[in-house]
Amino acid sequence: MSAHTTEKTTVDVKSSVVRLRGVSKSFGDKRVLDGIDLDIAPGEFVALLGPSGTGKTTLLRLLSGLQLPDAGTVLVPPVRTVVYQEPRLVQARRVLANVTLGQRGKAAREPGLAALAEVGLADKARAWPATLSGGEAQRVALARALVRQPQLLLLDEPFAALDALTRLQMQELVADLCARHRPAVLLVTHDVDEALLLADRVVVLRGGGFALDRRIDVPRPRDRDDPAVTAHRKDYLSALGVTPRRPPLEHR
């Protein structure tokens, strides 16, 4: 296992919107999170990378209150929203009603329409979720998450189920919207390039702790082929346990 090169980014503790201290969580014998600390600053976009089954989603579920930690404290801001891998829209309600879900009265209508306009679906307000494409449905889910103006936006592999082209468009949309609204974001993903494209800070979760935690100081909008971005890629891949192929390709 690689050494834990944690280039700890110093965040002023008083000014963080997410504060985890010594958080542990086990499933049976498996200790998925082993006493982790994490701070996220307001408006900071953090991407969480990790191989499957390392507890990325568990961490997200702890933050959204769906699970309780075995030990440690989890502190979060009052307004939090989540975008899941699947859109999770209520099929029996129209798109606008889905966006304003849980909000009462006519006052929710205008912001709902505005949020739909922001994701480019102003004309779909009265459509039924079943009539939307996968990308459109996920944009509705994003509008639903943004309309509440969250202080913390949790993104649980929101692009994983989309086709490659839609994914690129969605990544740009998320980058734009987050730049405009500036919520603190925790993006869980498998995709190193996606993390490097979007995040201010990319963290690798492995073996119950953070194997790599580094700030990505590249101005936006970013180009995925920018050498300043790709320079990070190798480090992250090796932190994830992917060894780069050596030029004469060895077939075993």
Partner: protein, 276 residues
């Protein structure tokens, strides 16, 4: 970013997950309401709130119960009714299951079967009693037929619903792997619709008791439905209440049996659902 931000007050997130409760506490809560009712019954009859002429006391009912046990009638009655109910429910449920599957699986089946069955379904089966007596006489055939009809409609409705709510994508995939007709039904659709089908079985067994009471009012000399007629004829309040108790006990029995079937027939429900 150098914009000044107000930091919101942080708090531990409200727990939205499912709280697990200990098995014993859960069992205790389940038992508590029936136990409370039983206690209330005992207390109100023993303290004269309710006259035992109107509602027999638990002691009288237990006595009546032992009377039936000692004369061997309980055993005979139970067995006679069990045979009728078993046969009737067996026939009704099998036919309804096939119809429900046909209607749920194929377009043609739905067009041919569903509308007709939905119309017939609304006819109260008790309205069929005189007709069935004229067809089958007052013997066993009439009783079994009545129970079969009574249990067929809930089974059909639930099977149809269950088959309809099986994930279309899974069915498509199974068709793609060459499963057709009977094998598709048995291999994919029925297991997936099993929760609904077992729910239907619960309801069918409940309704079959109604069928029993109706059927055993005519031309019967034994059976737990006949017991109701008997109590009415002799105006025995203790027997009237005993009938209710016996039906309640049958209810518990049915519930336990179906739970057992659910556990063994749907093992996938107990496994999985671990968050990753």
């Amino acid at each position: 970013m150098t914009t000044v931000r107000t930091i919101p007050d942080l708090a531990v997130p409200e727990f939205l997950g499912v709280k697990s409760r200990s098995r014993w506490l859960s069992l205790l809560l389940r038992v508590s309401v029936p136990a409370l009712i039983l206690l209330l019954w005992w207390y109100s009859t023993s303290h004269g709130w309710v006259s035992t002429e109107v509602f027999a006391s638990p002691g009288q009912v237990v006595q009546a119960f032992w009377e039936l046990v000692n004369t061997g009638q309980l055993w005979d009655f139970g067995l006679a009714s069990l045979r009728r109910a078993g046969l009737g429910v067996g026939i009704g449920v099998s036919v309804a299951l096939v119809l429900g599957l046909v209607a749920g699986l194929s377009r043609l089946g739905e067009e041919l079967v569903d509308a007709t069955v939905q119309i017939i379904r609304v006819v109260p089966f008790l309205a069929l009693v005189p007709l069935f007596i004229s067809w089958f006489g007052v013997d066993e055939a009439f009783k079994v037929a009545l129970i079969a009809v009574s249990s067929a409609s809930p089974m059909y409705a639930y099977t149809y619903l269950g088959v309809r709510s099986v994930d279309r994508k899974v069915v498509e995939a199974a068709r793609g792997f060459g499963l057709r007709g009977w094998r598709l039904a048995v291999g994919v659709v029925v297991p997936s619709a099993l929760p609904n089908i077992l729910m239907a079985l619960r309801i069918c067994l409940g309704i079959s008791l109604v069928g029993l009471i109706a059927a055993e009012q005519v031309g019967a000399t034994e059976g737990i439905g006949y017991l109701v007629t008997l109590a009415q004829q002799y105006y025995r309040n203790d027997y009237m209440v005993l009938c209710i108790v016996i039906y309640a006990l049958i209810g518990i029995g049915v519930d336990l049996v179906i739970r057992l079937i659910e556990r063994t027939a749907m093992p996938w429900r107990r496994h999985g659902t671990a968050a990753g």
